[in-house]
């Protein structure tokens, strides 16, 4: 009982959001969309107290709200749109908005790399596949309804809940890495002041250099060397696998 009381701020909006997404999913029966939209709005308003950054520079706040709202709305539209092509395009918008948030958090390289890799290559590949499968203007019922809307929504929101819960705990323990004046039931998505990663081995002589390419390189190939090398190895194996699977020209498939 104690636990649920402490975390009702987290649980109730999650349940509401789960309901909203399930309601908005395309289905055979026509449901009034406004119910889902209102539930989703209520969930966002309830949880905003935990996620909003401290009031700072007004340009920064405006940008944060624009990017955050764009990300949440496009994410909702991405999973509830009937047309797979539009879903892929909403996915691209989600990526772009999140990249904007990365930029606000002084991570320009992460932001640019995400745009190049996700928006510029991966979603383009999705679009390729979808567009080859269906021509514009043809009214087919193909791929227009989710197969297991309820399970997918519930599992997705359980994952989101676990993530938020962990973030909350982490924000409360390690106050220095997010915000010095963290209130107990709050974690800050956007730190008002940019601070170096406290666990980093890389030298941070100049506070203006945080987020620059030099510090990023030091951090990647110093603090996270093994993770980077393992990720590189996995990618190499995947590349070799893809080349091995791809049909040979001699087999007459190209």
């Amino acid at each position: 009982m104690d636990w649920s009381k402490e975390n009702e701020l987290l649980v109730i909006p999650l349940l509401l959001g789960c309901f909203a997404v399930w309601w908005l999913m395309p289905s055979a029966k026509k449901r009034p969309r406004i119910v889902g939209v209102l539930a989703g709005l209520a969930a966002c308003i309830m949880i905003q107290g935990m996620l909003l950054p401290q009031a700072g520079d007004y340009i920064r706040s405006v940008l944060f709200f624009v990017f955050a709202a764009a990300a949440v709305i496009s994410a909702g539209l991405m999973i509830t749109d009937r047309n797979p092509v539009y879903s892929a395009l909403w996915f691209a918008l989600v990526t772009l908005s999140v990249c904007g948030l990365f930029l606000l958090n002084a991570a320009p390289f992460l932001s640019a790399a995400t745009i190049i890799v996700y928006a510029g290559a991966i979603i383009v590949t999705f679009l390729f596949v979808i567009m080859l499968a269906q021509q514009a203007g043809t009214a087919t019922s193909y791929d227009q309804q989710p197969i297991q809307p309820l399970m997918a929504t519930v599992v997705g929101f359980i994952l989101l809940g676990v993530l938020l819960f962990t973030l909350q705990e982490w924000g409360a323990i390690d106050g220095t890495s997010t915000n010095e004046h963290a209130e107990p039931r709050q974690f800050i998505a956007v730190p008002a002041e940019i601070q170096p990663n406290p666990l980093s081995q890389a030298p941070h002589d100049n506070p203006h250099e945080i987020g620059s390419l030099r510090v990023l390189g030091r951090s990647l190939f110093g603090d996270y060397l093994f993770a980077v090398e393992i990720a590189g190895t996995v990618l190499l194996i995947a590349t070799i696998g893809a080349i091995a699977i791809a049909p040979r020209r001699a087999q007459g498939t190209l």
């Binding site: 320009p108 790399a113 510029g120 290559a121 679009l127 567009m131 203007g137 620059s212 390419l213």
Partner: protein, 404 residues
């Protein structure tokens, strides 16, 4: 003077004044220059083909761009039935937007050091102080593929869709050598900021221009950028001499014009980037040094940069009627089998020089050796292919057998 104008505005609006002014100037100049580049392209094409070219509107045809613009604006704007209207209208917008946005981090004059948004110095760049300018440009231009792919798909035409597939495969492939080719520059300069790369060369003098250390990277960058912009010899998506048109077959009037505005803006950006990254930007010995302070030196620097960029635009337009178009498999082979390995080896060379603290001039023979080696391998390995093509009947028969 500019500072007084800025101070006249309320406090909260001051940071916006200089960027707005710069954006307005860049946009206007860009639109004007684009229309005259089309005239120049038509005139150059005419001269190279021993024709006269457009000469009816105004003296020497100088008002032809105005006539073209009016025609594009006043023409009937056909939206075919059965198209996806929203995406169909959105696609040209994306095309123009991404190419214009890429210009935001390209300096077009001497960017003052210690610049702030409110001190009234003209910045000569829309977004000063972007630490990752080069990566920003690649990120933004990688979004240009959406204009192509949406335009092709939304037209609801199989030929447009096929054209979009070819064009987007080309654009996505050539992004990789484009990005790899400038990694060497970033290693040499120690920064990915375009302004810093420019200043680094300007401080080092004409023998410090990156073209001396990275000639191969310059060739790769230029070729890949041409392919990104889909200029000849890489304009397979269009093939205007023999096909109907690629992904923009169904577009007409100003929407078609917007695609071409995007292409010409891209050409301008490429020329600026090539002259800034490899040819010292606004630096020129004696007349435009970093410490030259004479009256009008800023103007001279801007003019030097514009002249260099203009020279590259001319090169791009002359290449159009010089090199024949690639076949599609040759195009893909060029990106994946030639440009990407060469760019990677070039980066390895720079790393070797940096790691062992060798003289940077070692990079010149290294680049030449790589280029010659690639040429040698290319001619040797293409010989069996030439033999194969001399027996076309047997080859066709072979394919037939495989298909069954």
């Amino acid at each position: 003077m500019l500072e007084q104008i800025i101070n006249w505005f309320p406090e909260w609006a001051r940071p916006f004044i200089m960027p707005m002014l710069t954006i307005a100037i860049v946009l206007q100049v860009n639109l004007g220059v684009c229309s005259y580049l089309i005239l120049l392209e038509r005139k150059l094409s005419a001269w190279m083909q021993d024709r006269i070219g457009p000469n009816r509107v105004g003296p020497w045809g100088l008002l032809q761009p105005v006539a073209d613009m009016l025609k594009l604006l006043l023409k009937e704007d056909v939206i075919p039935g059965h198209v996806n209207k929203f995406l169909y209208v959105l696609a040209p917008g994306i095309s123009v937007f991404t190419t214009m946005l890429a210009f935001a981090v390209v300096p077009f004059g001497p960017v003052p050091r210690n610049l702030s948004a409110t001190d009234g110095q003209f910045p000569y760049i829309i977004a000063p102080g972007v630490d990752l300018g080069l990566v920003f440009i690649f990120a933004v231009t990688s979004l240009a593929v959406y204009g192509i792919i949406l335009g092709g798909w939304a037209s609801n035409n199989k030929y447009s869709a096929l054209g979009a597939m070819r064009a987007s495969a080309q654009v996505v492939s050539y992004e990789i050598p484009l990005g790899m080719s400038v990694v060497g520059l970033a290693l040499l300069t120690g920064s990915m900021s375009i302004e810093k790369i420019l200043l680094h060369q300007a401080d080092a003098g004409i023998l410090g221009w990156n073209i001396w250390f990275q000639p191969l990277a310059c060739v790769i960058f230029f070729a890949a950028a041409m392919a990104e912009a889909q200029r000849l010899p890489f304009d397979l998506s269009e093939c205007e001499q023999e096909l109907v048109g690629g992904w923009h077959t169904e577009y007409s009037a100003m929407k078609w014009g917007l695609f071409f505005l995007g292409e010409y803006t891209h050409v301008i950006t490429i020329s600026f980037l090539t002259s800034i990254l490899f040819f010292g930007g606004w630096h020129f010995p004696w007349i435009a040094e970093p410490d030259s302070q004479y009256l009008g030196s800023t103007l001279v620097k801007v003019l030097v940069l514009l002249t260099k960029s203009f020279a590259f635009i001319i090169v791009i337009q002359m290449l159009r009627w010089t090199i024949p178009r690639f076949r599609f498999d040759q195009l893909m082979g060029l990106a994946w089998k030639v440009l990407i390995p060469l760019a990677t080896l070039n980066v390895v060379c720079v790393m070797i020089v940096k790691q062992f603290h060798l003289n940077e001039w070692w990079l010149l023979p290294m680049s030449a050796a790589l280029f010659l080696g690639a040429g040698l391998i290319g001619t040797q390995s293409s010989r069996p292919f030439a033999r194969r093509t001399s027996e076309p009947v047997a080859e066709a028969h072979g394919h037939h057998a495989h298909a069954h």
